[in-house]
């Protein structure tokens, strides 16, 4: 596909509305009897071999003509690269719809899809509202548990591949790989309320796009080296003019060396005042141990600049040997796994833990039973998506027990 299609896809994605907006439209249609045509495209059940970047581009390309229909609106039902889509329009465009359905059928039939449910379905509101709601609900039902982050597939990076990848990353438009995911607080009534966004790059898409024959994580040490390049690109993205103008609280993963880098100083110097004190920096345990004096320096410097600090990538086993109290960090992002599910007691204060990668009810139940109130993952996407203002972060009524650390001296 040419670069033009890639640009169109990006532009369409930028203009898409979210699942909540679609639910409101359905309710309005039912309440007022307003007729609307709907095309629902379900990509999330497809295997990864059928959701490569070129598949996604072809889907967007097939859908695009429908967006010229009368009062057409596009909805993207998740923030994942492989997101289910819905197009809603007032009427007409029968020819465009028929063509789109034909293109999509051929695309996935030719790719070998033989699933029981179609990839694309046409519906009519308000008569088929219940069917559409059911389809949306099943589309957003939790899939299988997130793959273990340390379960890499493919050939490991070597130094040559690493150097090649770093060179490609230096030239790539990283905004296409940028993702956000909420960390949500779970109240006693079981409702999720987003507390802050985690901003990260999709490693799956980076790997598939820039170095498809390699697994980025298979060699843990070369992967950790690679994260420094990711850090530099993330800091550059966040330092771009206007990027953080309307931003709410967020977190990013950084290496110790990245916190001490000129790029971070530039990011810090240009941070909008409302965000001061509303950003969490996530560190990795290996980075902490690789250069402990630099870690302690970076920790205290970040504190002095009013950043919160967390430890991510923590497994059930690591929790036992790397207590949060020793590191002096504010919270811990504990990765959900089947092995964690067998842990009865937590070695750390649950009010200082975010349970990450929650994609099953079991994960939520395990966390709640141990007093964890902060969750991140596919299930934790349910609930309100309205961005929080920075002042809500600094008055964390919804955040139980988030340690504020030492009183930071203003600079």
């Amino acid at each position: 596909m040419s670069a033009v299609h890639g640009t169109a896809e990006h532009a369409l994605a930028q203009g898409a509305e979210d699942a909540d907006a679609l639910l409101r439209l359905i309710r309005e249609s039912q309440a007022a009897g307003i007729s609307r045509n709907v095309l629902l495209v379900r990509l999330s059940p497809l295997p990864s071999s059928m959701t490569r970047p070129h598949h996604v581009r072809l889907v967007w390309s097939a859908v695009e003509p429908l967006l010229r229909a009368d009062r057409a609106r596009l909805f993207r039902l998740s923030d994942e690269r492989v997101a289910d889509l819905a197009v809603v329009w007032r009427g007409g465009a029968e020819q465009a719809l028929a063509h789109c359905l034909l293109v999509l059928e051929r695309l996935f039939t030719d790719s070998g899809w033989s699933g029981t449910s179609p990839v694309a379905e046409a519906m009519l509101l308000p008569g088929e509202a219940d069917r559409l709601l059911a389809a949306i609900a099943s589309a957003s039902a939790p899939p299988a548990a997130d793959p273990e982050p340390d379960d890499p597939q493919g050939l490991a990076l070597d130094t040559v591949a690493l150097a090649t990848l770093e060179a490609r990353l230096a030239r790539a438009d990283m905004s296409r790989f940028a993702r956000r995911r909420d960390v949500c607080a779970l109240d006693p009534r079981g409702r999720f309320a987003p507390q802050w966004e985690r901003r990260y790059f999709s490693l799956t898409e980076i790997g598939e796009t820039l170095i498809p024959d390699r697994s980025l994580r298979a060699d843990p040490w070369l992967f950790r080296r690679l994260t420094r390049t990711f850090d530099a690109r993330m800091l550059a993205l966040l330092s771009a003019r206007g990027e953080l103008d309307d931003a709410g609280p967020f977190s990013i993963s950084l290496n110790v060396a990245s916190i001490l880098s000129p790029a971070f100083l530039h990011f810090d110097a240009n941070l909008p005042n409302p965000l001061r004190g509303a950003i969490l920096l996530e560190l990795h345990p290996a980075d902490m141990l690789a250069d402990p004096s630099a870690f302690l320096f970076a920790r205290d410097f970040a504190r002095a600049r009013h950043y919160r600090l967390g430890l991510h990538g923590v497994s059930a086993d690591l929790l036992e040997v790397l207590p949060l109290s020793s590191s002096g960090l504010d919270l811990l992002l504990l990765r959900w796994s089947a092995a964690l599910g067998r842990v009865e007691r937590l070695a750390s204060d649950p009010s200082l833990i975010v349970l990450d990668g929650v994609s099953t009810d079991e994960a939520i139940g395990w966390g709640r039973a141990r007093g964890i109130a902060l969750f991140c993952g596919r299930l934790a996407l349910r609930g309100a998506r309205a961005p929080l203002s920075a002042s809500a972060w600094q008055n964390p009524a919804g955040l139980r027990g988030l340690a504020l650390g030492e009183a930071a001296a203003p600079t």
């Binding site: 040490w221 060396a257 110097a269 790397l322």
Partner: protein, 452 residues
């Protein structure tokens, strides 16, 4: 905030001296803060110390129409004109406490890193400092981090890896013998085990590099994994050959090898361990703490397998800082190699409490004090009940013990015996007339003094 401050070639020193002289003549009030990064013990100050401190000082200077000067020796000076008496901007007043906290892991007496002088009262102190800087505008040493930029690091590691797999690898190996100090008046020294590893300086020299192996800690760990595999192959090929590389050598202390978890669990190592057992010899595995933390579950599996095979497991690369961060005792290794640092003799603050608690949990009986290159290190260790040591000073004690028991030592110097004891090639031992003694596991009995 921007890049770290560059040396000014004497201009900043002159500017500071001119300012001090003016203040002396005119009585102009000002606040002068000196951050004495040059006073930090090596390997500090590191580039990030100067970069971050410079940025913080520059920000305060900009807020208050002040000035930041970068001395050639590495010190940074903040001048805020017009600040009188005990008053002053709050952000500047908090800087000494902030800097003391930032550098406490690297500087034993972090409060002395910062000097705050108020002019004109302390003009004598400022003049003395400025005069000293102006007379000797010495260049700050360039830290390792700055000498090896990121863009070169991957290439460096590749070349080092290539050198290790080239010809004549034994020339690049080093042997260090850990010792057990027995209690008693004479304090006998008993060889405990011999660790074989690649010598980084030798490897860098072979690769034609001025250094850089450790510029990136993660690339270094990748390299370490490659070196471990190479060494395992060398040791496997040397079985039964005699000499310092022979893991089955009779009457020699057991060989210890550094390994990744993957290598320790490999069939290659399993075969080596089996061959050593068949020869009635032990062998040891040393696994870095960072490696163990990378996959604690796998570590425990490997530990249990090694224990079942009678292989000694040493948790390696534990510093006084990492001992405070991780529950080292919880890894349940047979021995823990604690890296000596002069900071351990004068710990401070919260890190000291964490370290003492960690040492208690590990137990002095399981500690091998590594890099014991000085008498200070040995004395510190003995004061903590530690009896196992590895390092230059430990090697010297072992060499002295050998010489006391060697009938041919009359023509040798301690330094020569020490170097021959750590050598891994016949060429490096060729002038020793009793080379078997270099590999002995037990201390020789002292020979009677011979008549002149």
């Amino acid at each position: 905030m921007s890049e770290q401050p560059a040396p000014s070639g004497g201009e900043h020193e002159q500017a500071l001296l001119d300012m001090a002289r003016r203040a002396s003549r005119q009585g102009t009030p000002a606040l002068v803060l000196v951050l004495r990064l040059s006073a930090m013990p090596p390997p500090a100050p590191r580039p990030h110390h100067r970069r971050i401190a410079g940025a913080m000082l520059r920000e305060v200077a900009q807020h208050h129409a002040g000035q930041m000067l970068a001395m050639g020796c590495g010190d940074l000076v903040l001048i805020l004109p017009g600040v009188q008496g005990a008053s002053g901007p709050q952000d500047a007043a908090l800087l000494p406490e902030i800097f003391a906290r930032l550098v406490r892991a690297d500087a034993p007496d972090s409060e002395r890193i910062v000097s705050v002088w108020r002019l004109p009262e302390a003009v004598g102190d400022v003049l003395a400092y400025a005069t000293e800087r102006a007379i000797e505008p010495a260049a700050a040493p360039v830290a390792e981090d700055a000498r090896f930029p990121e863009t070169d690091q991957i290439c460096t590691i590749e070349r080092l890896s290539g050198a290790a797999f080239g010809e004549g690898p034994a020339d690049m190996l080093r042997r260090q013998t850990a010792v057990l100090l027995l209690p008693g008046k004479t304090g006998s020294v008993v060889p405990l085990f011999s660790e074989l590893a690649f010598s980084m300086p030798s490897l860098e020299a072979r690769a034609g590099l001025p250094g850089g192996a450790r510029a990136d800690p993660f690339l270094f760990r990748w390299l370490a994994g490659r070196l471990d595999q190479r060494l395992l192959g060398i040791i496997g090929d040397s079985l039964g050959e005699g000499g310092p590389l022979d893991a089955t050598l009779r009457d020699a202390p057991p060989l210890h090898l550094n390994m990744s978890l993957q290598t320790a669990a490999s069939s290659v190592f399993e075969r080596l361990a089996e061959q050593c057992r068949a020869a009635g010899k032990g062998v040891g595995v040393e696994i870095a703490l960072i490696e163990a933390c990378g996959d604690p579950r796998r570590y425990h599996v490997v530990r249990d397998r090694l224990a079942a095979s009678g292989v000694c497991l040493v948790l390696d690369n534990v510093s006084h800082l990492t001992a405070g961060l991780a529950d080292v005792g919880g890894f349940a290794a047979d021995l823990v190699k604690l890296d000596w640092s002069p900071r351990m003799a004068a710990p401070s603050g919260a890190e000291a409490a964490l370290f003492e608690a960690a040492l208690d949990r590990i137990g002095a009986g399981r500690v091998v004090l590594n890099h014991a290159d000085t008498e200070t290190a040995i004395r510190w260790g003995l004061g903590r009940g530690i009896r196992r040591y590895q390092g230059r000073h430990a090697e010297a004690m072992l060499a002295a013990s050998r010489m006391a028991g060697c009938p041919w030592s009359g023509g040798c110097e301690l330094r020569q015996c020490l170097e021959r004891g750590t050598a891994t090639t016949p060429a490096a031992r060729q002038f020793c007339r009793n080379p078997d003694l270099l590999d002995r596991a037990a201390p020789p009995a002292a020979v009677e003094a011979r008549a002149a």
